[in-house]
Each structure stands twice: as C-alpha cells, then as structure tokens.
Amino acid sequence: MIEQAFNGLVGGAFYALLALGLAVIFGMLGVVNFAHGAFYMLGAFGAFILLDSFGIGFWAALVIVPVLLGLVGMALERLLIRRLSGLDPLYGFLLTFGLALILQDLVRRQYGVQSQQYARPELLGGTLNLGLFDYPAYQVFVLALSAVVCGAVWLLLTRTKIGMIVRASTEKPELTRALGIDVSRWVTPVFGFGIALAGLAGVLAAPMRAINPLMGGDLIIVVFAVVVIGGLGSVFGSVAAGFLIGLVSALGNLYVPALSQTLVFILMAAVLLWRPAGLFGRQEGLT
C-alpha cells in the first residue's frame, strides 16, 4: 500500500512537470497547448536518439534535450503561436492540436509504433532501501528531481523580479503593458520554458516507460484533468494536483481496479461541481 502510494507519487511527478508547463503557458499566453504531450514524447525520443545515434548518455540528455526543445518552443511561439493573439481561442486549439498530430506522425514515420527501450543510467540502476521496502533508485531520483524543479519554479515565480512580471502579465496583461512592461517580450521565453519542462519530463520517462509516438497523447489527457482540478492557470494548483492525481490513481488502481482509468475524471467532475475554478483557482468571477 505504501509502495503503491510511492508509485503514485512518481507518476504524479510527471503530471506535475507537464501541468506546470501547461499552467505557465496558459497563464501568460492564454493558449491551451494541446501539443504539450507531443513535446513530452519528443523529450523521450530526444534522449533515445542522442544515445542511439550519438552515444550521448542520460545525464547529458537531461540537460541537452530540454534546452533544445525549449529553443524549438521559442521559435514556434515566434513563428506561429504569436499570430493567435486576439483571435478566438478555438484557433489556438486547432493550431496546437494540429501540431501535436504532425509531430506524432513525423516520429511515427521514422520509428514506427513499436516501443523503443532506454536503459536506466548505471548510477541509478539498483534499488534503495526506503525503510519499509526496497524501491528502484531511478524512480526515487525522478520523484526528487521533479519536486526540486517544481520547487525551483515556484521560487522563481514568487521571489524574483521575473516571476513578478510573469504573475502580473498573467493576471492583468493589459494593465501590465500600460504600466510600462513589454509583456510580449516575456511571452517567448515563458513558452519555451514550458516546453522545456515537457521535454525534461520526457527524458525522465525514457528509462522507465515505453517510448513510442503515442506516449504523449495518452498522458496528456490526464494532465488536462490535472490542470483543471488544480485550477486553470494556477501554478501551485497544477503541481499539487499533479502529485495528488498520481496518488489517487495509484491507490484507485489498488482498491478499485475497475475504475482506475476513469477515477481521475470522476474526481475532476466532482471538483468542478464543488469548486468551479478548481482547487486552487481564484473563484471570483465564476458562477
């Protein structure tokens, strides 16, 4: 049971990283990025390709892949996403969803639908004794790194000047511009940063999950539920809900296996009925 809970938290670590990126992007750009799962998938493939074709290992990939994908994200924002501003949000959905399909199919063309394998880094190959049970060291690392990254982003957002500008631009973009801040200048790096987080989650997934073109699509549906439960645009809520949903679905798996797939969505519906803006969303203005 405790071991299952731990599994849940590790799963939640991925939800949290992905939801965090989605939340930051949504807050700053007002765009729900349906391509987020595709970038997670590209992160995993990035690690795989680096090793397979260039002999570059896990630790380097952990840095290189997010940075590269972050740059791709920034280019994407400049070339395409930027053009959405002022348009119906539906266009954002069409663009990012279309992008997700294109990225998926490009990878599928190259690698097919079978899953690729990626070995755990040697250093983390064994198990750790956590007192009550032995647990794979790699999973412990994933959990710890995700917690550290989420915490660092939290500090960045709440304690720094950049964070202050991001919060202000997210809450009142028009006023923030009128107060002398060039909001559009911050939009590109924020989008790239969100994509880099998805890429990081993808690299972390490579050694423990099946690497295939559809891995992002399956996961991202749950991540959207996570973001809604946490409160759309609430950074803290996304992270908290990420870990919470990981926990709930793992325990659900244990006690009510029949519901394991739907439990998250039942929870989402319940939260929406109880608090329409999500657990940590600001409730004003919503009825």
């Binding site: 202050m164 500008i165 919060r167 202000a168 997210t170 809450e171 009142k172 028009e174 006023l175 923030t176 511009r177 009128a178 107060l179 002398g180 801040i181 060039d182 909001v183 600001r282």
Partner: protein
C-alpha cells in the same frame, strides 16, 4: 504637455469619441467631467494606447504618441490610475508598487511612499486585493508616483470613497502638482474637481462641449450637477 487632436474612438460600430481635442499644459491639473458613458474612460485608455479603434492624433511634449504601444507610452512618463484601480491580487502590496519601471527624473523613493502612505507600509506583504477600497486607490496612486511619471491619468479616484479618504486624495494631488507633475483627472464630483484642478473639460456623448475654469464651475454648479445626473 499633452495634446489630443480630433480623437475619435469606436467600440465595434458605436462611435464613443467624436473628434475630441484638448490640451493639458505642463504642471496643470485638468479634469474631464461628464455623465456616465460620456467617454471619459475611453479617452484615457486612448491616451494610454489601449484602444485599438481610434482616429486622430496625440502627442506628449511634442513627441507623437499615435503609433506607440502602451508600454512605450508609459516609459515616456505617462502613469495610469485605472477606474478599477488595477491592483494585482497575485502581487503583494510592495510588489504592486515595485512592478512598473521608473520612468521619470524625480521618482518617489519607497521611503517617501511609505511615509506618505503608512497603511501601505503596514500591509506591504499582503496580497494587493486584501486592501480596502480606499487603500487600493492609494496603492494605485502611489504606484505611479514611484515611477516618477510626469503625466498622471487618474480615472475617478474618489468614486465610492468616504469623505476623509477623498480629502486625502485631494492632498496627494496637490502635493503632486507642487512637484510639477501634470494630471488629467476624470471626476464626477464637481466640488472636488473645483477644489484640486485648474481647468475643466465637459464631455458629453463623446464630444467636448465646454471648457470651464474654477469660477465658472462654481457659478454653474447646479446646472452641472443636473447635467451629470447627480
């Protein structure tokens, strides 16, 4: 300081400003009076560059504003105090003050701000929107003082506030004027307007219909109040 020439503005098909022209000289406090829906807020938003559908021209100390985005206008020294006060809930009181960049040669220091607004100092770590309405108004004013803006656009700063606080806002505006700052003030409270301002423009249905000085405002107070529907 500020020149507005033949400014027109639309919301969709509806024209809400019709060829408005006005001038505000350096160091003056000028008010815009007019009943609800006359277009006062729209005019300030146009000066700030926040309104997309506009015609006409605006300049600040001779520099053409027309093509500049809002953040560039702010950096030229225009400080906006919006009608909803524009206080951020996700920023603390102090962050609300520190957010906008300093734009003018004589910004108020944080010590001066806190000396003038002790309540803001006491509440500096609270989220901005935890403040009372009057305190939020003070925060919105203090924020543009800290930037050192040379032209303040204040949109109904006294609306809905208790007389003591209205008096305080009057004091601040007079202090600001003593430092040579120019103010374009939207105000429904004619009495208050006459007590702080040098001149007044009367706006009706998107047009400037009258330009008055303080003596005229006092002489025509009843007529004005009736026009404003108060």
């Amino acid at each position: 300081m500020l020149t507005v020439e033949n400014l027109s503005a639309w919301y969709g098909e509806a024209q809400v400003l019709r060829e408005v022209s006005l001038q505000v000289a350096e160091g003056e406090i000028v008010t815009l009076v007019g009943r609800n829906g006359a277009g006062k807020t729209t005019l300030l938003r146009c000066v700030m560059g926040l309104h997309a559908r506009v015609g006409g021209a605006m300049s600040l100390r001779g520099a053409d504003l027309t093509a500049l985005p809002p953040h560039r206008r702010a950096r030229l020294g225009i400080g906006w105090v919006p009608d909803d006060r524009g206080v951020y809930a996700t920023l603390s009181v102090e962050e609300n003050l520190l957010l906008p960049p300093v734009t003018g040669p004589e910004p108020w220091s944080m010590e001066e701000i806190y000396a003038a607004f002790p309540r803001l100092k006491e509440r500096r770590r609270s989220p901005g929107t935890r403040l009372s309405g009057g305190e939020q108004q003070m925060l919105a004013m203090a924020r543009v003082l800290r930037t050192g803006s040379r032209l303040l656009l204040c949109d109904e700063p006294t609306e809905g506030l208790a007389p003591v606080i209205v008096e305080q806002i009057g004091d601040i505006l007079r202090q600001v004027k003593d430092r040579g700052v120019t103010v374009l003030l939207v105000e429904q409270n004619v009495h208050f307007a006459a007590s702080v301002a040098d001149r007044h423009y009367l706006l009706a249905e998107g047009r400037v219909v009258d330009a008055l000085d303080n003596a005229e405002v006092r002489a025509r107070q009843d007529e004005l109040l009736e026009h404003l529907g108060i």
